[in-house]
Symmetry: C2
Subunit: 330 residues, 2 copies
């Protein structure tokens, strides 16, 4: 079982893998991604993964066989495990608890060489609906206070397999970064009685200098305070704190916005590695007027270095106004 530990100085939580600890030799070189021939996420290789949790599959096909279009499995090397209680405990000044959580993989397509923006809109829509459905299912487990959906595309972005997939982690604690957003958004709301995300979006829609694309329900822009070159956010125009309350019509429209934004990143930047993260409210704050779910997309073009680690500051060599201009015209 892994272990959560909290730093008394920063308040930061980490997850330590105590089951299969990595030794120096395990880091000595970066291994190449496994080839198609033994990719566990390809159609026909279902036996190489843990049994599926759910799949969208053709009528009459059996679970854990071919015939699926989207497949959700538990992570084979999970950072966290579903079984057990948290058992919070102290060890001197340190706080710790058991590594309870869920860690699932959403395999977005049975085809090895298709990336997310290569898929038809209808298929991307189903991927997004799968995110929503998995969160709704995991909400039944009251131990989990936060559901984090993210995607690592490419080795520089931390992917260990090239076959297109996203991940879901359900956590018994609300992550520090989300708490920070929530606390500041509450402060703004108390002061202005308005959602800071809504205000930001209205300003972006008025200035239009950083808008990359717009659909009826979503706006995609390079944020004024971009940490990384060509960072993009997608935000729903209608205020909503909880991603999992997205309507079917919005899901279809989000597929269009996401496909468009990722396609522009691929085209402008020569298919870079990237991460995206769905920022949504914690379970306890699902109906909040002051939080607004959104997707943050970060192409991985630069190394994060000592200055960033030491300060929490970021140095970005590409003003978002210029990034938006390049992405918009691509």
């Amino acid at each position: 079982m892994s272990e959560y530990r909290q730093d008394p100085i920063s308040g930061r939580w980490i997850i330590i893998n105590t089951d299969q600890p990595k030794e120096p030799k395990d880091f000595e070189k970066i291994k190449p991604l496994p080839p198609k021939t033994n990719c566990p996420f390809c159609a026909g290789h279902e036996a190489l993964t843990p049994p599926e949790i759910i799949a969208i599959r053709a009528d009459g096909t059996a679970p854990n066989t071919k015939g699926w279009s989207i497949r959700v499995i538990p992570n084979k090397f999970p950072a966290l495990r579903v079984e057990g209680e948290l058992d919070r405990a102290g060890e001197g000044i340190y706080d710790m608890m058991n590594g309870v959580g869920a860690h699932e993989v959403i395999i977005e397509t049975p085809e090895h060489d298709k990336q997310l923006p290569d898929l038809p809109l209808r298929h991307i829509e189903e991927v997004l609906a799968t995110y929503k459905n998995r969160i709704l299912d995991l909400k039944n487990d009251s131990r989990f206070k936060y559901h984090l959906i993210f995607k690592n595309q490419g080795q520089t972005a931390g992917a260990s397999l090239s076959h297109s997939h996203s991940q879901l982690i359900a956590l018994p604690i609300v992550p520090k970064r989300v708490l920070e957003e929530l606390t500041r958004a509450q402060g703004y709301y108390e002061f202005k009685e308005r959602c800071v995300f809504c205000d930001m979006m209205l300003q972006e829609l008025e200035e239009r200098e950083r808008i990359v694309l717009e659909t009826p329900e979503f706006v995609c822009f390079a944020p004024f305070v971009s940490r990384f070159p060509f960072e993009l956010w997608i935000m729903p125009k209608t205020h909503a704190a909880d991603f999992a309350q997205i309507s079917p019509a919005q899901t279809s429209d989000l597929a269009r916005a996401l496909s468009g934004a990722l396609g522009k990143i691929q085209k402008s930047l020569g298919n870079p590695s990237y991460n995206f993260v769905v920022h949504t409210a914690p379970v306890s704050a699902h109906a909040r007027d002051e939080y607004h779910w959104h997707i943050e997309m970060m192409p991985r073009l630069m190394r994060v270095a000592g200055f960033e680690w030491g300060s929490g500051f970021y140095i970005n060599p590409t003003p978002p106004e210029i990034a938006a201009r390049f992405l918009k015209s691509s």
Copy 2:
């Protein structure tokens, strides 16, 4: 001039390079580090850098010529500039100010192929004394509220030159990460009337499970809440908030601890890229009972991925107890 921008949602500050913005083509491939023949940090190549701020050099040698052992120069491509006023301003909901600051490079040796732990202890001591002296000098500029010393070693750690060097950035705002440490350390102090760092060190010295090395004045340990595999901290045994108040005897002892720790990282992990950062108190909190300066060292063995970006959580596959055992015996 570059520009500071603050995110109203996270409170995060970033620095945007508006002078020489990088376009998509500038990121297309990672350029190899320049070879020795045209390394601007090598002895004899002084004309390739801006004029030196200060240098430790042999008697009778002229500034900006050979004969130095440590040389401090302004960064040729600075993230910030020394001239000018902050000119804080709003732009709708956003806050911004001019990119005022200092960005200096400490070239640690005239020899291209020597790394920091390869240098004699007396030389490392002078590098550390140079850090201190540059901070003391920059403290005369009352615009600067924080002085950050860090080192990026190796391309994976963000270094753009392989010649051994560190950097100093003086900032007109206290970085978010330092503020967080300070706020929580204050909370602990109010509750216990003790420094949380001192308590942490005492516990480590008692348990000894994560200690890697000890000198009369310093202790080096793998922190209980290590974000990264083989992360190490060095902490002075005597409480002190401000790195720049280090005594000559402590400086000499720190050279021993730093050289030992970096040597162990090099040896155990096959000379990996790494960052280190000196965490010290902001100018306004130099005499604080609740803050304790220290050095954080992070070998760069893994990619930071979507989960970490989205949550501020870290997943660490190597328990610090195991990391300490490997490093100690190397």
